[in-house]
């Protein structure tokens, strides 16, 4: 495959990264399938428990009656995105450093913004592919009502950029790709999944702040309803946080990884 270089000539690193992802597609698909398998096991165990307590099930997903399969697929998409995106994004800079290719990138005339933007954008490819695969399943096989699909896409619009920015920040901050990946995955899961789950749905002292950062559960909260203010709000907050984290990553990159122009400070010591 020869990607349309001309259309994307603005950012050579993006083209390069997409090419590398394309080459790694089998491995990535394997990872994705692995995730899906874990999800199925989880769903069977979870579903069994839930079937026994139908009332609890109703409480969890009040508006999704009759769309269990659709909801499972939608959750599956979120699960895979949550599992894969931070890991991939966290390898962006730290992985180059380990492979020894970071120095080559840093000695090209590409600007720091271009380097990070290329890395950031290339990480959209995998979630995009997951969504493209999931949409026909949702629409045709699961006969998902359009509002659920809309909600899912809206949730992803906030969630994916946030996950990429978390990963990218970790990859700039931490030198080793394994550490960066662990940190990114842990941050994503603690902030976006574990804390919200622990605090239940709209109860407890942290209910309000948790609700604002509640992408996975927005879906359950909204169910089959049209994307409403609640999901819009979450997506917006996530996008803003994503941009802020990206800018922080860029600032750290400028400071710690590649200096631009400078007033040399005596006694300046690199980490």
């Amino acid at each position: 495959m020869r990607p349309a270089t001309d259309a994307l000539r603005l950012n050579p690193l993006l083209v390069h990264e997409l090419r590398r992802l394309w080459r790694a597609r089998r491995r990535l698909a394997g990872d994705g399938l692995g995730q899906a398998f874990v999800l199925v096991l989880f769903a069977i165990a979870y579903g069994g428990a839930l079937a026994a307590t139908a009332a609890y099930f109703k409480e969890l997903e009040p508006h999704s009656d009759g769309h269990y399969f659709a909801m499972s697929v939608a959750h599956g998409v979120l699960w895979i995105v949550l599992a894969l995106v931070p890991l991939l994004a966290a390898g962006a800079i730290s992985g180059e450093r380990q492979a020894g290719s970071l120095d080559l990138l840093l000695t090209t005339p590409l600007r720091n913004q271009t380097l990070l933007a290329g890395k950031w954008l290339s990480n959209l490819l995998v979630p995009l592919a997951v969504v493209c695969l999931a949409l026909p399943i949702l629409a045709v096989l699961a006969r998902t009502p359009a509002p659920i699909i809309g909600t899912l896409l809206l949730v992803l619009t906030g969630l994916v950029p946030l996950l990429i920015s978390i990963g990218l920040l970790c990859s700039v901050l931490l030198r080793h790709p394994v550490t960066a990946r662990l940190a990114a995955a842990a941050t994503a899961w603690v902030v976006l999944v574990i804390v919200p789950t622990m605090h239940g749905y709209g109860t407890g002292p942290w209910a309000r702040p948790v609700e604002w950062l509640l992408p996975t559960f927005a879906l359950q909260r909204i169910g089959a309803h049209a994307p409403n203010l609640f999901v819009w709000r979450i997506a917006t907050v996530e996008l803003v946080v994503a941009v802020a984290l990206y800018l922080l990553a860029l600032a750290l990159f400028d400071r710690a990884v590649r200096f631009r122009s400078a007033r040399p400070t005596p006694g300046d010591v690199d980490a």
Binding site: L13, A24, D103, L104, L106, R111, F259, R260, S261
Partner: protein, 310 residues
């Protein structure tokens, strides 16, 4: 072309590179020689704008690496000691990416890539994946990358390490060709022999300090170093030492009877070689071959880094 002005790098309380001063002209091939940990990589990384100097500066064609690193990046071709290559792309794709990164217009990339592949003898590997290349080929690929944007200054960190003798010879020819095309080449190594006849200038660094710099001849003269004459002879090897004993300038003679060879160390010029040989032949040594080691960098290196030169 390249000027180092008091270039210094301090890590905590370790001074890795201390007050380097150096001037190179276009077409110079500078051999930067020193033992492990001397500060070669640190110096090259500063020149490649990867590390900010603690003090001092370096000017590439008059452009400062400290205040204008962005402009410097277009003027240098950097090859790290860990030649970073992406395993998951094809050879031409790797070069195509860097050509784009160095802002080569799209229509020029194709011909330039062919050219550097030709130069580094990788044309047949054009469609191969980088991970399929041998170590030496990866090294050549990285060198090809440094040539894409036709930079006037090449910074090569130990390009000869890990190469077989044949590949080293090829590298030497390649460097000669680049020198002829007017490039300035800054090349570090602790494998010295193959640098000897490519370099126009040599600098010896030890513990962050440049202990000697100049043309190879200058350094040999300044350090009062010996030239060596390596001799093979079928008979009469035992006569060499008595024949040369007391002769002016001869410093040491090492005879290896098993290999039928002898090494004669002497302080002098090329003109002394025929006289020496004549003495041996007339004295009955059956000389079958003689090689003069004009620039014995290995010995030079060992002497200098043993602290024999202040």
């Amino acid at each position: 072309m390249l000027d180092l002005v008091g270039l210094t790098k301090v890590y905590g309380d370790l001074t890795a590179v201390s007050d380097l001063n150096l001037h190179l002209d276009p077409g110079d091939v500078f051999g930067f020689i020193g033992p492990n940990g001397a500060g070669k990589t640190t110096t090259i990384k500063m020149l490649a704008t990867l590390l900010r100097p603690t003090a001092g500066d370096a000017l590439v064609n008059g452009v400062s690496i400290v205040t204008q690193p962005e402009q410097v990046r277009g003027l240098i071709g950097y090859m790290p000691d860990t030649f970073g290559v992406y395993d998951d792309v094809k050879v031409w794709e790797y070069l195509d990416f860097f050509a784009a990164a160095y802002r080569l217009p799209r229509e020029r990339r194709g011909p330039v890539i062919e050219e550097v592949l030709e130069l580094t003898d990788l044309t047949s590997k054009r469609e191969a994946f980088v991970e399929e290349l041998s170590r030496g080929m990866k090294q050549r690929l990285c060198l090809a990358k440094t040539l894409l944007h036709d930079p006037p200054l090449l910074l090569l960190d130990e390009p000869a390490s890990g190469l077989d003798p044949r590949a080293r010879l090829e590298l030497r020819d390649l460097l000669r060709g680049l020198q002829r095309s007017g490039k300035t080449i800054f090349i570090s190594s602790h494998i010295l022999s193959e640098l000897a006849d490519v370099c126009t200038k040599v600098g010896i660094i030890e513990a962050g300090r440049l202990v000697a710099a100049g043309t190879t001849e200058e350094i040999i003269a300044a350090a009062g170093l010996t030239r060596t004459l390596a001799i093979t002879a079928t008979a009469g090897l035992e006569l060499i030492e008595p024949l040369l004993a007391g002769r002016h300038g001869v410093q040491d003679v090492v005879v290896d009877f098993a290999a039928h060879t002898a090494r004669i160390g002497f302080a002098g010029t090329l003109d002394d070689v025929p006289d020496l040989l004549l003495t041996l032949l007339q004295g009955g040594v059956k000389v079958t071959g003689a090689v003069e080691g004009a620039s014995d960098l290995e010995g030079l290196f060992l002497r200098l880094t043993r602290g024999q030169v202040a």
